[in-house]
């Protein structure tokens, strides 16, 4: 069954065992999951040791593969296309269609693999202490391990089917982990909400995959010998195969809807803050650093498809940028009114995901991917710090206003790591967030999306302000509530339902204290990375520091068509502005001899002034005549200190203003600020708007469910009634109702009748017709078949 179909490895490029066997990375936790489920409860540490060991194993494999990839890139020639290491086997076939499974390893997947394996390892270690004594301890670790297997599988996926497999495993594990303490009604509701909201988006994933498959399959089979599900095939098809405009646009939009759901983008972001009902390690791993970036990852993975489908870098704005931009501001505004520390972080996550999406939408691929990388570290650290506070200081409460304050003296390590991560999140030089976020804003502006650059700066200002507010409420001022040693029984966390936690709770009554090493060591490791991860791609320090760009970004070169090239070597052509024109000519004679299209030197000259690390290729703008493109041509904004200084100043300003207001409001209780929202009508309106989350939940539940589903049901009653009761009755009824409606509304209530009248008619019709709804299956069956017959008739008429 599992015959090896193809090994697209490169002879000229170096490879290695880890790189060739990267498909093992998701298999390790998958096996561990099965072992935990079946044998976990009998093991000395109740299965948690298997989870931790499997994650460390995955991490070792991922790091090994990453090092070999770096070696591969370093050994490659300038301007050579770095082939991803692709292996594929037939997973199953049906009626001639072969569905593959395998690995597609390149810089992007290795980045995410390392991040996921690393954060998973730390979070599992942290959970050893955080969930000690939990009643579903083994199942928690099993779900966490299965989640990691799903995510890693999605990242290594060679084709869309495998990607969907991982995507859905993640969705399931997210549901299980959010509802881990399902005894509390709110938790299981939050789990269901998360599940259904992401499922709504997932319809787009299935539709988009199908649309792309049927559009691309024949091209990819002919030119590359791979199916239309293959990620490599889809990328090449989007850039090279002259895809139909409608097909690729529909496919890209459908896929993006899935990304909106999974990555908590604007209209479907409401599930993410509710998902904080899960245990804090879950929030840290799934709902901030890894799972929610799956949507961003999908856009980055199939970037050529989105590039073409959404017309990125084309004229005008595109959907991805708009959604990302809206999300940044909308979520950041919501973070101001939260009193729950985890909800602040949740909205902050949504906002940061907006940055990534906006970056991708505006052609800033590398900064967005780099932001995934850095954001994972500092956001995981922030969540784990919040968990540490609730675990050791605030008696399992996350309420900042009620149960925190003044904790910096009691929890020095948590405080320090929190501050470092906050500074990284806000984007203060030289913390990690500065390098990635500033790059996104810079590149968005550079690519001509000035409005969205402003949005990004506003978002940075707001981020700084709400994080300062949260920091102030948590660590400064006087201890309040639980952290002051008071115990109260009605705290909201479901921890309280653990009988086994009583011994621990007894400790907490002695007042806040620092957490133990299993919690602080992961915090310190993450904080170190929050401080230093930016150096992996430190654009300000010159090109030699842009290591991630070199290792991760796919080179946009025209690759000789694999089907026609007799040797396995791929040759790319690119002109580099650092290379003088005569040298360029001498360095690429073989390529020009093979008839590839050499980019015009004049185009290269335009980028020379920008000191771009990239060469100019036709990829993305037009299909190459010979060969294949796998990545669109993108430009990097040149780094300028004044711009960076401006954004840092904006951030510092945000912190300062927020700090001053916080001191006035929460400590000095200055008369002007306290109760301001209840005194000023305009502010009260805005506050209510934010507290109710823009009434989006109301919109979904009240307006969409009640407003659309119910009228449809009523319309169905109406149809039913008229068919059953005969046409004469129906005509009479309708005539009378129309006459009555005209009389009442046009004659009597011309002014205010429009709203009231239509509502009354809908209600009246529904009530009048309800008794006729029989509930008899046979009548429904008759309607069904009659409708099918009528539909068939319509089809015949249309087609002839």
């Amino acid at each position: 069954m599992f015959a090896e179909a193809s090994t697209v490895a490169h002879e000229a490029l170096s490879s290695g065992w880890f790189l060739e066997h990267a498909f093992l990375i998701p298999i390790i936790p998958a096996v561990a999951f099965a072992l935990i489920i079946f044998f976990g409860k009998k093991l000395p540490m109740k299965g948690s040791e298997l989870g931790v060991l499997s994650m460390i194993g995955s991490l070792v494999f991922a790091v090994g593969a990453a090092l070999q990839w770096i070696h591969r890139v370093n050994g490659a020639g300038e301007g050579q296309f770095i082939d991803p290491v692709i292996r594929s086997w037939t997973w199953w076939n049906s009626g001639g269609f072969h569905f593959g499974i395998g690995q597609h390893i390149d810089g992007l997947s290795l980045t995410i693999l390392v991040v996921v394996a690393f954060i998973s390892s730390l979070v599992q270690i942290y959970s050893l202490e955080y969930l000690r004594g939990d009643r579903r301890y083994t199942h928690f670790f099993a779900s966490l391990t299965l989640f990691s297997a799903g995510m890693l599988n999605m990242v290594v996926a060679e084709n869309m089917i495998q990607l969907i497999l991982g995507w859905e495993i993640m969705g399931l594990c997210s549901f299980m982990l959010i509802g881990h303490w399902w005894e509390e009604g709110a938790n299981s509701r939050a789990a269901l909400k998360a599940f259904f909201t992401t499922r709504t988006g997932d319809i787009g994933l299935l539709v988009g995959t199908s649309v792309l498959f049927f559009s691309a399959n024949s091209w990819t089979q002919e030119h590359l010998g791979v199916s239309g599900f293959s990620i490599r095939g889809l990328s090449a098809w989007a850039l090279t195969g002259n895809p139909g405009h409608a097909a690729i646009t529909v496919g890209a939009v459908a896929l993006f809807i899935a990304c909106i759901g999974k990555s908590g983008q604007f209209p479907l972001h409401t599930w993410l803050p509710d998902a904080m009902a899960g245990p804090t390690p879950v929030s840290s791993l799934l709902h901030s650093s890894t799972m929610v970036v799956a949507g961003v990852f999908l856009v980055a993975r199939l970037y050529p498809v989105f590039f073409k489908g959404m017309n990125i870098l084309g004229s005008g704005v595109n959907l991805i940028t708009v959604i990302g931009g809206i999300t940044i501001v909308v979520a950041a505004a919501l973070a101001f009114v939260q009193t729950d520390i985890k909800k602040v972080l949740a909205y902050s996550t949504v906002s940061q995901l907006g940055y990534m999406m906006m970056g991708l939408g505006a052609g800033a691929w590398m900064p967005a991917v780099f932001h995934i990388f850095t954001h994972a570290f500092f956001k995981a650290c922030l969540f784990l710090a919040a968990g540490s506070i609730s675990h050791s200081a605030s008696h399992h409460s996350f309420e900042m206003k009620k149960d925190m304050g003044g904790l910096r003296k009691f929890m020095p390590i948590t405080f320090t790591t929190w501050i470092i991560s906050t500074l990284a999140l806000c984007g203060v030089f030289p913390f990690a967030g500065f390098f990635s976020k500033d790059e996104i804003i810079d590149n968005v502006g550079h690519n001509g999306y000035t409005v969205f650059m402003v949005v990004g700066l506003v978002g940075a200002f707001m981020t700084a302000a709400y994080m300062t507010r949260a920091t102030y409420l948590t660590f400064f001022g006087e201890p309040r509530g639980a952290s002051a040693g008071e115990s109260h029984d009605d705290h909201g966390d479901a921890h309280a339902t653990h009988d086994t936690h009583d011994t621990h709770d007894a400790q907490a009554h002695h007042g806040p204290h620092e957490s133990n090493l299993l919690i602080t060591v992961p915090l310190m490791i993450l904080a170190t990375l929050a401080l230093g991860a930016g150096l992996f791609n430190a654009t300000p320090f010159g090109e030699s520091w842009e290591r991630m760009t070199k290792w991760v970004e796919p080179r946009s070169v025209v690759v000789a068509d694999m089907a026609h090239a007799s040797v396995g070597e791929t040759r790319g052509v690119r002109t580099d502005d650092t290379v003088a024109p005569p040298m360029m000519m001498s360095s690429t004679p073989t390529a020009t001899a093979s008839g590839e299209e050499t980019p015009v030197g004049g185009e290269a000259l335009t980028t020379a002034s920008e000191s771009s690390a990239h060469a100019e290729s036709v990829c993305g703008t037009s299909a190459p005549e010979m060969g294949t493109c796998y990545a669109p041509q993108l430009h990097h904004a040149p780094f300028k200190w004044p711009k960076a200084a401006m954004s840092v100043v904006i951030v510092l300003l945000g912190m300062l203003i927020s700090w001053l207001i916080s001191v006035q409001m929460y400590t000095k209780k200055a008369g002007f600020f306290v109760g301001l929202t209840s005194r000023n009508k305009l502010l009260a309106l805005g506050y209510g708007f934010l507290v109710n989350k823009y009434y989006l939940d109301h919109l979904y539940e009240k307006v969409i469910v009640h407003g659309i589903a119910h009228p449809i049901a009523k319309a169905a009653y109406w149809v039913n009634q008229n068919i059953l009761d005969g046409i004469i009755n129906g005509v009479g009824l309708v005539t009378r109702r129309v006459a009555g409606w005209v009389y009442r509304n046009v004659d009597q209530r011309v002014v205010d009748g429009a709203v009231n009248g239509s509502g009354a008619v809908a209600r009246g019709t529904g009530n009048a017709l309800r008794p006729v709804q029989s509930g008899k299956v046979s009548q429904y069956g008759a309607l069904l078949f009659a409708a099918a017959a009528v539909a068939g008739l319509v089809l015949i008429i249309v087609n002839t």
Binding site: Y717, Q773, S774, S778
Partner: protein, 99 residues
Amino acid sequence: MLVNQFLILAAVLFCIGVYGVIARRNAVMVLMSIELILNSVNINFLAFALRNGSIDGHVFALYIIAIAAAEVGVGLALVLLVYRNRKSIALDELSEMKG
């Protein structure tokens, strides 16, 4: 032999089956009518298999027979359950969906 003579025979059987599903009150009779529908589909599959010279139609006809067996098994189990709970298998008494 015409293609249509088989297809129209199948259509007639299908419509008789539809009538049975709608008209019958006894749940077992409804299941029998569904068997009629499934058989008409099988005749279609085999007629097209002969017309197109392909074997796929035979494969799916076999699958349909297997599925029909499973459907009858579960369907009759459901009918038994309904009978045990209500002492009747009249479908028009099962009107809990009434609006």
